[in-house]
Symmetry: C2
Subunit: 324 residues, 2 copies
């Protein structure tokens, strides 16, 4: 049997109202009473029922996080910071992996609304714009812009693309590949691609663009993509990979086929996951921690009824290491 406020009340010999007062530190209470109540709570191992509280307050202090896949290092890392910051502010986190499945994402959104979450951070989107604008709940999107009216947090993808490409050009690469996950699902990340094209066009270099299929983050698929890239273009001397995970696959492939990095091929990654540190990878670093913090900050501000910036674009940084 779980102990409730009522049990405490009986034990101490006062009304439930009084217990509630002690719990919330409201109104006048004699010191002795306070003491006795707290002791009883301790003794009976009492925990206030947050469900009942939330029902009454119409506020659950839970926020939903919808991402494609928690096992992907980028999302793992950003989630870590989101959790940490949410916790500090007294919010719990409901974790939802969409796997980029439309049906699952939709169901999760309904589930979160039903669970009375106070807001949602969307790091995944597979549906039509209206499906999000109609959610009718504080919302922040991470690394993607769904509509003009939904605040998004991202880093400067275009500039990141510029930095990476310019570096490869400066290092005198003559045949450069841009590889990425599927570009349809994340229009912001696509700016890296746009910047790449902008930089290489008109210059005296060849270039190639390759992307994976729609479905998710399969490292096997990454591997195959990279393998084919080098098979079809053995003379590549520069690769801009739009994620560190992809870049690591490039390094692996180069070792396998005996291409020296950075001598024969130069490689730039993207993300700056702390994980990339398993190699001495040159990369474009996104401020992942800051992105997570701002996602929470802006979500909580909306929950508090405040206005927040609709667009947040944080600076990126070129981290030049051993692969260029």
């Amino acid at each position: 049997m779980v102990v409730t406020i009522k049990d405490i009340a009986e034990k101490v010999g006062v009304s439930v109202t009084t217990i509630s007062r002690v719990l919330n530190n409201r109104g006048y209470l004699s010191d002795g009473l306070k003491q006795r109540v707290n002791e009883a709570m301790e003794e009976m191992n009492y925990q206030p029922n947050e469900l009942a509280r939330s029902l009454l307050r119409k506020k659950s202090n839970v926020i939903g996080l919808i991402i494609p896949d928690i096992s992907h290092p980028f999302f793992g890392e950003v989630t870590k910071h989101i959790e940490s910051y949410a916790y500090e502010q007294g919010y719990k986190l409901m974790l939802c992996n969409s796997l980029l499945h439309k049906k699952k994402e939709k169901e999760y959104i309904d589930l979160l609304r039903a669970s009375q979450v106070d807001g949602i951070i969307m790091g995944s989107h597979t549906m039509r714009v209206e499906d999000y604008t109609s959610i009718n709940l504080p919302l922040v999107t991470l690394d993607r812009q769904i509509s003009k009216s939904i605040p998004f947090i991202s880093s400067d993808n275009y500039h990141g693309g510029e930095l990476a490409t310019k570096l490869l050009l400066k290092k005198n690469c003559k045949k450069i590949a841009y590889i990425s996950g599927n570009l349809q699902l994340n229009l912001l990340a696509k700016q890296r691609h746009d910047a790449f094209l902008e930089q290489v066009r008109g210059k005296d270099v060849e270039f190639i663009v390759k992307q994976t299929d729609l479905n998710g983050f399969k490292y096997k698929e990454y591997e195959e993509l990279v393998r084919r890239l080098f098979q079809e273009n053995p003379d590549i001397d520069g690769v801009f990979a739009s994620s560190d995970m992809l870049a690591l696959q490039v390094l692996k492939n180069c070792r396998k086929i005996g291409k020296g990095v950075p001598d024969e091929v130069k490689v730039v990654g993207y993300d700056g996951i702390s994980f990339g540190n398993v190699e001495d990878l040159t990369t474009i670093e996104q401020p992942i921690k800051k992105m997570g913090e701002l996602a929470i900050t802006y979500l909580l501000q909306q929950i508090a009824g405040e206005q927040v910036p609709l667009a947040t674009i944080l600076p990126v940084k070129l981290l030049e290491k051993g692969t260029t």
Copy 2:
């Protein structure tokens, strides 16, 4: 204004009971009514309030997951499977990173109890045994054994340690290092260490054991540990790393100091994270997916009042690839 069962009732012109019946498919209902109610719900975009339901049913269909750090690939991967399986069974997941901080873990446990979660999966433990046995909620621990009375899911750490060490011996390594995160916090993982010692002792080989400090998963610390290991023991020709992340650091270090792998040094990792695939790493593969599934299965069985095995030790597999 959020729409409730009452609004639907008024709109359709029946009592709330009837709506509730339609919602839960209980009792007799005329077809026409059913239809009209469903239409009204659709139209008003109604979502049943799970808070109220849970309060009444004394069941929230939420489970808490406490792990050290979601950004660590092993936990990211196991969490992915846990989420997926929980979702299939109609449960939501509350994500808690303990960061191996005693205070945070304690607070999260209280928070989860207060939130009326139906059960907890513990992948972290920093407190005394009594603190867990007194939780008084269905519990399953992941990869660690807190007490005889709390069911745990793990893989065969001892055998994994044997497999790895035997492989290195078979490959004729003469000076072998075992490196790991701190051994105090995870007694099950310590069995890898025990198996290692058991295998190397009495054989004609030198061996070294090194571990990181207590606090968490800092890749920088991994890196430093590995660097010192090789600096102090330049003649090492075999390394058994108790996680793939650690093994990847070894490979990185070997590249840096010009040690050929597997020619001069052979390396075996542990975990079999899909991530390890960024190198051609020989490793001991844990059945991560199965572990996640069983954690949920046994937790739900406890929630349903059924008995579950107190000890579950799943088989591991040697995955021999390019680093040995």
